[in-house]
Structures are given as structure tokens and as C-alpha cells.
């Protein structure tokens, strides 16, 4: 059974974060779940821990619509620091948006592994963990 050491949620929606954490825990495949309420807090964390393999996440779920720094702005920053990361971070945009424009935009960023429309079901999570 594949296991994930670190998974990070970047999302300002408390209810969604609570429920998704719950769903992730139920898979029993993830050791540690981190969360940030906006893009800026997340990017600052990555900058501070760029060389710490234990602290960096394997998977990062990124919401698009957030205060302070939204998902697009986070990606804009992440693209710059990604080459320095001590670990490959798989980024999945995880948005309630069903706008084709957002999906098309996500395809243009190679650091984005996939675009997941909320909610995230347990089956999808398992697929994802296996593929990583």
C-alpha cells in the first residue's frame, strides 16, 4: 500500500477543509495533513522549508478563490521557487469552479498536475495517492 507522508490543503473554506481532512484521514494513507487559509501563508511556508524534505508536502490541494493571495497568484509565485524545492510537490487545483476558462488556464501551467472540481471523493483521493 502506497503512503503519503505530507498533504497540504490551501483553502479558506473552513467547512470544506474540515470535511476534506476527515475524508483524507478515512483513507488511512496519509501521515500528516497541513492547511493554510490563503496562498500567501502557503507560499511563505514553502519558502521557509524549501530544503526540508520532511516538512514539504508530497501533494498540495490548491483552491482558486481565496483572500490575500488567490490560487493563481500562488501558482505565479510557486513557479519561481519550484526549482529550489527539495522534493517534487504535486499540485492539484481543487476548486468549486466549473468555469471552462479556469480549467483552460490550469492546463497552461505545467506545475499543475490536475484540476479537481469540488468535492473530493474518497475514490478520487485513493486514485490520486496511488498515482503519486
Amino acid at each position: 500500500m502506497e503512503r503519503i507522508k505530507q498533504l497540504t490543503l490551501v483553502d479558506d473554506d473552513d467547512v470544506f477543509v474540515y470535511l476534506t481532512k476527515k475524508t483524507i484521514k478515512k483513507t488511512n494513507r496519509v501521515d500528516l495533513i497541513n492547511d493554510f487559509g490563503n496562498g500567501l501563508d502557503a507560499i511563505n511556508f514553502l519558502k521557509e522549508n524549501w530544503d526540508d524534505v520532511d516538512e514539504l508536502p508530497d501533494i498540495l490541494f490548491l483552491d482558486l478563490s481565496m483572500p490575500i493571495m488567490d490560487g493563481w497568484q500562488f501558482l505565479n509565485e510557486f513557479v519561481k521557487i519550484n526549482p529550489f524545492m527539495a522534493k517534487k510537490i504535486h499540485i492539484y487545483i481543487c476548486s468549486s469552479s466549473i468555469s471552462p476558462e479556469d480549467m483552460a488556464m490550469a492546463k497552461t501551467i505545467k506545475e499543475v498536475s490536475d484540476f479537481i472540481i469540488k468535492p473530493i471523493h474518497k475514490e478520487k483521493l485513493l486514485d490520486l495517492i496511488t498515482s503519486v
Binding site: V15, F16, S65, P67, I68, D70, Q73, S97, S99, K118
Partner: protein, 497 residues
Amino acid sequence: MEELSDFKYALDESAIVAITDQKGIIKHVNENFRKISKYSAGELIGQDHRIINSGYHSKEFIKDLWTTIARGKIWKGEMRNRAKDGTIYWVDTTIVPFLNGEGKPYQYVAIRSDITERKKGEEMLTSTLKEISDYKYALDESAIVAITDQNGIITHVNDNFCKISKFSMEELLGQDHRIINSGYHSAEFIKELWTTIAEGRVWKGEMRNRAKDGTIYWVDTTIVPFLSPDGKPYQYVAIRSDVTERKLAEEELKNSNERAVGYIKAMENKNKQLIDFCNIVSHNLRAPLVNISMLVDYLDYAEDEEERLEMQRKIKPVINHLMDVFNELVESIQVQQDTEIASDDIALKEAVDKILVGFSPQIEESGARIHLDFDEVPYVNFPQKYLESALTNLISNSLKYKSPDRKPMIRIASKDINGKVRLSVADNGLGIDVDMHKNNLFKIRKTFHKHKDANGFGLFMTKTQVEAMGGKIWVESQPEKGSTFFIEIEGQTAWKE
């Protein structure tokens, strides 16, 4: 006797001489007569003198001649005669009757000199004068004509000028030509005109004038300077034609073009609003729905009572949030639909003072200073509800996002920018990274500060209201320095009156 013969010789040499009997039959002609009439002596002697008549003079003229000389008096006059070959010649004529013992004429001596050249000159002059007067007539009939002296004082106007300017001739003569100025043209335009004509060059252009009753008319104008021998203008002749209708049509065309552009902009705006609306539905309404569906799933498959209760507790706030977003959306659509909302003339000072009363606890608590400057534009014309909502929101933001390091200073002002009113609300608060947030600043549910009351609705609503009224809203800001929000409102007339 010899002296007499000398006189005859001199006369024959210098003049055209003919002698007829009392009935007008030619008895003698001299060399000059033969030369000018192109008849030989043989063809003339014994002929009636009328042989050289050209048929030009009236019966009365001829009768007057004969009556005069028949009475024994000298007749003088200018006559038009016809030579043998049909050519016409003019002669200055003196006819002297020779009287017999009874005092009656027994013969007439006609002494003539050739004045054909002079007559031709006179005729040409007359015809030129006639042509000139015809031109003047044509000009007066067709154009608006005025003549001024070199100082611009009107010395002549024609009927057309009086008709279009609605002044009488008496009111215009002696007046400065500026009496019909409409004040429309720039100082540069007028200066260029005067420089051109003062240098003796013709000026052409279109001018907007004002008639006596205030009505405006447009004239296509040509001003021709008349130059004195030293090359300086001594008078100016202005020839104009009425182009008012064309000008009005041009203006109408321009207006309708502007209207068309306005419609296109309005449509673009509507389209943009529609896209925004789709995004709002996709992002902001779907998110709480996702949460509800997840919560309901967990309710169904809850492992224990505790988990079930937990989920139940969480559903209520999500539903409230969904309701809030939904209501905001409905409110914003109502604003977009309600373009017919009536505008009010609002005294800015009064309106802002009223709003500030509502914020007095926050102002007191924070020690905020508020500076108002509505001297330039004291009034705006805008829906009262929208203006109050916009200013309330901006002032609220300035107080809410104050810097922890300094007391809030808020400046609210109004300015006239080319006929538009620009309201500004400037603070020294936290500021916003405008470059980073430019796409999201006025969007629904977008927030930029970690503040418990930041809900991302205020600026969205303000923008919706301002744009629904054809206005603009934007912000200039620097993080840690402060923000200035601008609202520009078009079509303002109230404060000018």
C-alpha cells in the same frame, strides 16, 4: 480776303467739314469728311446729308438739331455716323447756320472732329461699370455681404446680412463687427483670422455667429482685404453663405455616432457583467452547495451519534452563507436592472456629515481625523441611495483597514474634471497591493486583508452601483501608505447652475 482763305485752310486741315443747303443737301465736303465717311466727293455732293446717318439717334434728338439750326442757332452735340462700308464713327459736331439778309439760313456748315476712340472708351467703361453692378447685384442676391473698415467697423451690409443677423442696417452701420460674435471660437482662431487679413491675404473658414435674438448661425466665410496703393488694407469685404443646416446635420451625425459608441460600450458592459455573473455563480454559489452536499453525505454515513451531531451543527452556517451570497447577488442584479433610478441633487457636505454620524463610535475610538473639501464641487447629481451606500462603504473601509501604527486620516473631496465630478476618499491606512489584486479588487467575495469583517461585498456593490449610473470607480494605493478611491460621475450640470 487772304486771311479768310487761311482760316478755311486751317479748318479743312484740322476738322471734318461739310456744307449743306437749307434742305440738307450736301454742297461741299472736305478731304477729312471724305476720308472718314469713305465716300468720294462725287458720291456725296447733291446727296441728302442723311446718307451718313447711322439710325442710332432718336427722332427727338434729330428734331432738336433741325429746330435749332432752322432758327439760325448753332447746334452742338455728339453724333454717331455710318461710313460707306458700314463702319461706325463718332463725331463731335458743331453746325453753324449761314443766314441771308432776311435772317434765314441759306446753308449750314457742319464742323466735326473724330471722337470715335473716346466714345469706344466710354462705351467700354459703361459696359464694365454695368458688369460690375451686375456682379454686385448677383453677390447681394446670393451671399451675405458686409464691408468693414480696417478697424473692423461695419461700413456696409446687404439685406441678406440683416436678414440672418436679425439686426437692422441702422443698428449695424458704425458698429464693431464683433456685434455678431458668438464667443464660440478660440482666441487663436480669431487671431489667425485677423493676422491673415491684416497682411492682405484672403481668409476662408467657417464661423459660428450669434443673431440679435441670440439664435446661432453658421456661415462659410471669405474675407477679402481691399488694398490701398501702398499695399495696406483699407477695408475688408466679408462674403458669407449660410451653412447652419449643414453644421447642424454634422453635429447631429456626430451626436448619433457618439450615441452608437455609447450603446456599444453599454453592450460590452452588459456582456462583461454576464461573464462576471457566471463566475460568481460558479465560484461563490457552488462552493457552499458543495459543502452542503458533503455534509449531507457524512450525515448519511456517520459512524456515531457524535459525528452526526457535528455535521448537523456545521450545516446551518453554510446555509446562512449560501443565503447571504444569494441575497447579495440578487441585490446586485437589481441595481444592474434598475438603470432608470432617479438621480437627486445632493449637497455633498450634508450627505457626508450624515454618514459620519453613523461612524462616530469608530471615529472616536480610533481618534480618526476627517477632512472634507467640497468647495470646487459642492453638489452632485446621483441617486441618493447609491451615493450614500458608496461613501458609507469607502469610509467604512478606511476606518476598518486603518494602520495599527498611526491614527486614521481620511480626506474626502470633490473635483471638476472636464465637466465630470471626481469624488475621492483618501486614507493613510493599510493600503492594498494594487498590482497583485487589480483583477479582484471590485469582485464579489474577494478580500485582501485578514480582518474579521472583510466580506468582499462592499466594493463589489459600490462598483455595481457606480457603473449602473455610467460612472467609473478605481483605486490608487500603496501597501502601508494608504489608499485613495476615486468615483467619477458623468453628466453633471446641477452644481454649475
